[in-house]
Symmetry: C2
Subunit: 279 residues, 2 copies
């Protein structure tokens, strides 16, 4: 009966442990293996998952939400609901807070992170999401804008293709589900390493996490993250910066910031965010 | 007479010391202050300079050489000559070696670094250039392709906008005027940090030097470099790399390489290349 062993092993594939944040660099595969979306579905409880889709960042929320609803329903779930928050008042209402509490997985789509943060930051809904994640009852995933908005600081606007300077990146307040990080997405695809370095020079107490398309981090509550997907995740650690004149020079002048520690990590690599250490 | 002090200080501006390499990131200002080209002219001996222009990298060598000839003649020089090397045989001939020995400054233009290296690498001419620089008798400047070709390793082809992987950069042999460096140019302007990190993951004993447009390093023979110009210079130090799988995975797979040390330096900052240390 030895020939059955591979099958048995496959069936015994490790059950997702913990309730991580799943932070996705955008353009995740929705048609083939769906590795990242399947991981979210598994962590959220698989057949027992109660999934809430938040398409609020998007300019076409109905269409986008429907795409994800179909995907997660096909994977199997207890229920899949859509909540397109359209006002801060709505994000403060008890029924929205209750809906968050009922969910085992929340998925925030792409779009404009500024729209998402403006509607949700510092509301009862965002606080409930943070609390449910922190107490181990909720898995939260976000892709593209939905990824950027997870930090307490986020890049709301930025550009590329110039010498790093303060004006190339605009920082604002995110949802604060995760503290002391700045997340960037579509990372190498849109050449965003210079802007993330610039952001970290401005806030060296934050760790920069740049996530490529169809790539994600599975981030546990204790700060341990693992890379999954097709591309790479780039960690920009500014905790050892020596010279750094970003706040001393005009915003349109090229900046100097020395002694970044940078890690490029493909699938399977693990990093401890709090200890700033590779595993 | 105190009001004359500023003028006096200006007149006492430091005289260029030593015979550095001047490595330029391309698109240096040729119309306004001409800071970088003037620095080359000064280091080469100013009014006493004997300048040799090598436009061999370019696909329109005559026109480009003429532009630089006029510029340097306007600044004042003993003589300015043009040598468009068109064969390896020519680069081996005694009269070319003598012309190098007669020059106080050599300027290599932009174009295709592969063309320049294919014609000059490992010839008597290149060896004479290296020897004259090393013994303190020659200043060598190169811009764009002329900058890339200075190293013993150089990036001959490469692309951007994808997760770092080995196939995104092709390394070949440069002129070897400078050892254990990989120079990249038009650096942030063309988003080349990922490709330089990939190159350094492949050759971690080299230091990566990414130079923006209209920016240069003045590199002394002892390894001390100083940044001048409009943009930034990015040092990619791979000497402390921990995990690095670039040689273990297929060339089209995203690589992992952790613990790069990276410095972004604008005008005035100084770095010691041999000691891998900021000053």
């Amino acid at each position: 009966m030895v020939h059955q062993l591979p099958d048995m092993i496959e069936q015994q594939a490790p059950v997702p442990v913990g309730n991580p944040l799943i932070v996705i660099g955008g353009a995740e595969d929705k048609e083939r293996e769906k590795t990242i979306l399947r991981a979210f579905h598994q962590y959220a409880g698989a057949e027992q998952a109660r999934i809430l889709i938040i398409p609020t960042a998007s300019s076409m929320p109905e269409i986008l939400a429907e795409v994800y609803r179909l995907l997660f329903e096909q994977m199997g779930a207890d229920w899949v609901r859509i909540l397109n928050v359209s006002s801060r008042l709505e994000a403060q209402s008890p029924w929205v807070v209750d809906l968050v509490a009922l969910s085992t997985g929340i998925f925030m789509t792409g779009g404009d992170q500024l729209r998402l943060a403006n509607l949700l930051a510092d509301t009862d809904m965002a606080r409930k999401m943070q609390e449910e994640w922190q107490t181990g009852r909720l898995v939260i995933a976000g892709t593209s804008a939905g990824a950027s908005a997870m930090g307490d600081s986020m890049i709301s606007r930025g550009y590329s293709g110039e010498s790093p300077k303060r004006e190339m990146v605009e920082l604002s307040v995110g949802l604060g589900i995760l503290n002391n990080v700045i997340i960037d997405q579509h990372f190498h695809n849109r050449n965003r390493l210079p802007r993330l370095m610039t952001a970290i020079a401005s806030r060296p107490y934050c760790t920069g996490i740049g996530i490529d398309e169809n790539t994600a981090i599975i981030l546990q509550r204790d700060g341990l993250l693992e890379v999954i997907g097709q591309g790479t995740v780039t960690i920009v650690d500014g905790s050892e910066l020596t010279y750094n004149n970003v706040v001393d020079i005009p915003a349109h002048h090229p900046l100097s910031a020395t002694n970044f520690r940078i890690h490029v990590m493909a699938q399977g690599l693990r990093y401890h965010l709090r200890e700033r250490k590779l595993l």
